[in-house]
């Protein structure tokens, strides 16, 4: 039976084989436009030019949860790329290689298609650079992709660069297709069958965050370039002005967050986005926002390694600083995004919480989630709830107290321009009238007021939205994950269930305040708890030990790459042995 779920990967050196990423994107878009579901994964070299990169796309006719475990179709242009990627091949995989360049050792159970890609590009298309598109042609033929679909995608991809470029690339496409037909290469056992397309968006994580922020009503964005968060800045610079908003590249991250805080104080929903090094520079000002009670959203697209580390690699390493990167103590909400779709809805929730609780919300994405593309259904804007901060009523303005102590911890917030609302947003300890005050009593009351907001959130209706549970109804083994590994865990859990395992997963998307009640309910029947994290020490496991008093089995992977479903499954099976 032909497979309807398979992984295609293109690997190579970005200097010697330019266009690796473009090639991958073209295939992705062709699939998405055919109504199929996609799940991409890329790695970049840290260098501007040169170094090994890969682009991989999993294609299927159902919703995909992970990048998959092994590669079904690999396209490589050089021996180096071949050697680097061969270990990831599935059994019965197809290898397409540039036979004009090297000859791999034959391997049983692998189907090798040597195609003189560069030669065809040079001689038949007249442009060596188009060897990628020749490879796409080969794939088109082998996978049975309708030529029109691919031709349309190529047209869109290169359209902006002029007719001549499009023509050349179509020629390359056809050269690849012809080669397969002429050489009677047998088509692959995979199905790329266009299905009736629903209106679907093809987005990567950063795009989903950006769209969500605009839907949430964000009007000011300030940021400083940093991999892998920069694309949010670029998106905002291009698109936000169209919605009457403003996006600025500032001189550094401290300026970026300060600007966002100032704008929010003055009444506009604001956001900044960065990665670890920039986040480090922001912690002082996040603390200010919490103390002065200013709504604010900070996106941290986590990357690998401490310090400058590994900018183009993946990690879930910033949970600690998101939770605890504050001198002394102030309330901060932390959300972990779990998928491309969740990036869209999660950022909207982040803005809503920032507005309701008038406090900073840190949103954790990562280098695995941010650049990968997935299809999502077009959001129904009518269905999305957008919440704005509470401003004081006429009555409240009569004797206005900005930092009034209330049962919920939330006090109505005046906006400059409102008559009789004038107050000082204050980072020094202060009384209800925002005057500096240090007496033991005032500090105690004000600290309680600020933290009360987190309690109010914990007991609110919003928490349920943030917890997802999957798998067996009466599990013995439970997995608690956070952030971008949701799909991978979910896939592993269903595989385990198919094999008869009593396994379930809980995925809290709210990391502070932690939904302790939900977690305690989930773990009650469990005999074993596994916590997979892409970091070295196990930051989430530590949080669970502290807050929930449970002692999970840690599964840590800290090599710059995401988990695969197989790795999680293997751990489940290993743990099941000990039951």
């Amino acid at each position: 039976m032909p497979k309807t779920d398979f992984v295609v990967r293109i690997g190579g050196d970005t200097a010697k084989d330019p266009g690796i990423i473009t090639t991958g994107e073209i295939i992705t878009h062709a699939a998405a436009q055919s109504g199929l579901h996609i799940y991409t994964f890329k790695t970049f070299p840290a260098e501007i030019k040169g170094g090994q990169a890969l682009f991989q796309v999993r294609i299927a006719d159902y919703i995909l949860l992970s990048q998959g475990d092994a590669v079904d179709v690999l396209v490589v242009f050089s021996r180096e790329a071949y050697e680097l990627n061969a270990p990831d091949l599935a059994e019965d995989a197809i290898l397409i290689y540039d036979s004009g360049n090297f000859q791999p050792e034959p391997v049983t159970n692998r189907i090798d298609y040597g195609v003189p890609l560069a030669e065809i590009a040079q001689n038949q298309v007249g442009s060596l650079l188009s060897k990628n598109i020749v490879a796409i042609g080969v794939l088109t033929a082998i996978l049975g992709i309708p030529r029109e679909v691919m031709a349309k995608t190529i047209g869109e991809q290169f359209g902006a660069r002029g007719r001549a470029i499009v023509e050349t690339n179509l020629k390359a496409l056809d050269a690849g297709i012809d080669y397969v037909n002429q050489n009677k290469i047998k088509p692959a056992d995979y199905i790329f069958q266009p299905i009736t397309p629903l209106p679907k968006l093809v987005l990567d994580g950063n795009e989903a965050v950006s769209l969500g922020a605009i839907v949430a009503g964000m009007k000011v964005f300030a940021g400083y370039p940093i991999t892998p968060a920069s694309d949010i800045l670029h998106f905002m610079q291009r698109e936000l002005p169209k919605f009457g908003g403003d996006a600025l590249q500032t001189e550094d991250e401290i300026s970026a967050i300060s600007l966002a805080i100032g704008a929010s104080f003055a009444g506009k929903k604001s956001m900044t986005a960065t990665s670890g090094p920039g986040f480090s520079l922001m912690v002082e000002s996040i603390n200010l926002a919490a103390m002065a009670e200013i709504p604010l959203v900070i996106v941290d697209v986590q990357r690998g390694g401490a310090s400058t580390g590994m900018p183009t690699k993946m990690a879930q390493g910033d949970l600690n600083i998101a939770l605890y990167g504050v001198h002394n103590e102030s309330p901060r909400i932390v959300i972990g995004l779990t998928s491309v779709e969740d990036s869209f809805y999660g950022i909207i929730r982040a803005f809503n919480l920032a507005e309701i609780y008038q406090t900073p919300v840190v949103v954790l994405s990562d280098q695995y989630l941010a650049p990968r593309k997935a299809t999502i259904n077009e959001p129904d804007l009518e269905e999305i709830e957008i919440i704005d901060r509470m401003i004081p009523s006429k009555e409240q303005l009569k004797n206005y107290r900005r930092y009034k102590i209330t049962a919920s911890g939330i006090s109505p917030m005046a906006i400059p321009g409102i008559e009789n609302g004038a107050y000082i947003a204050e980072g020094i300890e202060h009384n209800e009238m925002s005057a500096p005050a240090y007496t033991p009593q005032i500090h105690a009351e004000m600290t309680r007021k600020r933290f009360k907001k987190l309690e109010t959130l914990t007991s609110s209706i919003y928490v349920d939205e943030f917890v997802r549970r999957y798998g067996h109804e009466y599990p013995e083994i439970g997995i608690i994950g956070w952030g971008s590994s949701e799909g991978v865990i979910r896939e592993a859990v269903s595989k385990a269930e198919i094999k008869g395992g009593k396994v379930a997963a809980l995925h809290p998307k709210l990391l502070n305040p932690l939904p302790v009640k939900h977690i305690m309910e989930f773990v009650r029947p469990l005999r074993r708890i596994i916590v997979p994290e892409a970091n070295y020490t196990g930051q989430f496991a530590a949080l669970l030990r502290d807050r929930c008093g449970i002692n999970p089995i840690q599964l840590n992977k800290d090599v710059g790459l995401p988990f695969t479903p197989g790795e999680i499954l293997a751990k489940i099976e290993e743990v099941a042995e000990t039951l």
Binding site: Q33, K200, L201, V202, L203, E207, L211, I214, V215, V220, A222, R238, E239, P241, K242, F243, G244, D246, L248, T250, E251, D252, I254, S255, A256, S258, L259, A260, I261, G262, A263, S264, F265, A266, G267, K268, S270, E284, S285, L288, A292, E378, P379, L381, A414, P416, G417, I418, E419, N420, G421, A422, Y423, I424, A425, G427, I428, M433, A435, P436
Partner: protein, 281 residues
Amino acid sequence: MAQRAAKDYRGSIKPIWCPGCGHYGILSAIYQGFSNLNLNPSEVVVVSGIGCSGRLPGYLRTYGFHGVHGRALPLATGVKIANPKLTVLVAGGDGDSYSIGAGHIPHAARRNADLTYIVMNNGVYSLTKGQHSPTSSPQLLSKQTQLRPLQDALNPIAFAVACDVSFVARGYSHARNELADLIIQAIQHKGFALIDVLSPCPTFNRVQTSDFYRNNIVPIASNHDAADKFQAFIWANETGKIPVGIFYKVRKPTLQERLEERRIQSGREEMSMRNLFEKFY
């Protein structure tokens, strides 16, 4: 609306500055300037950092933001972007503005947001009790170490001119009317205005005192052409007497104008969320 008096801008908190502190003069000059412009206190925001200077917003009846040390300028930029109708005044100390905050000045100049930045320059770190600041006199013995500054002083006016800050002035806190006048002009100026205000700290600075300033301050020559950057730079580097007045003034596009242009170019009108979604089909 009837003309508002200076006292209509006075907040309810009594200043805790020391007797004789120059910062009082700046505060009064601000009251006076606001009154003269008849600004609605609800449409004014005063943003500050940390220092004796940082307490300024608390003493006004306007909106305010008392932020962290050194970041008043980007905070204020955010305020202005969010609501261009507000009058936004920024107050910093010499440490707050020229030491930890120095990196924000060239970029505030490059953006040219319509802000009035008042640097309450007392040549010393007062709130932290007497350390040298970038504008300390080479003669100033710091309170705690009895040492002279290790580093040369920064020339804030020359610095601002070189950064192309679009309005650069120096005032003196005890010359209240002249200062109020500078503040009025700075607020009326379209773009980023920096006024370095000499403000004696009798508690920690025994060199840059009001006695000293009384004898050394001179108005900038009346024939000085503030549009001439080179002249401004020469005046800024004057080493004899200390000139006060407007050194430099040019009209450049404000941040607001730049952002507005971007919005127009981007074709705001037709945009809907659906249009944007369609790009990702």
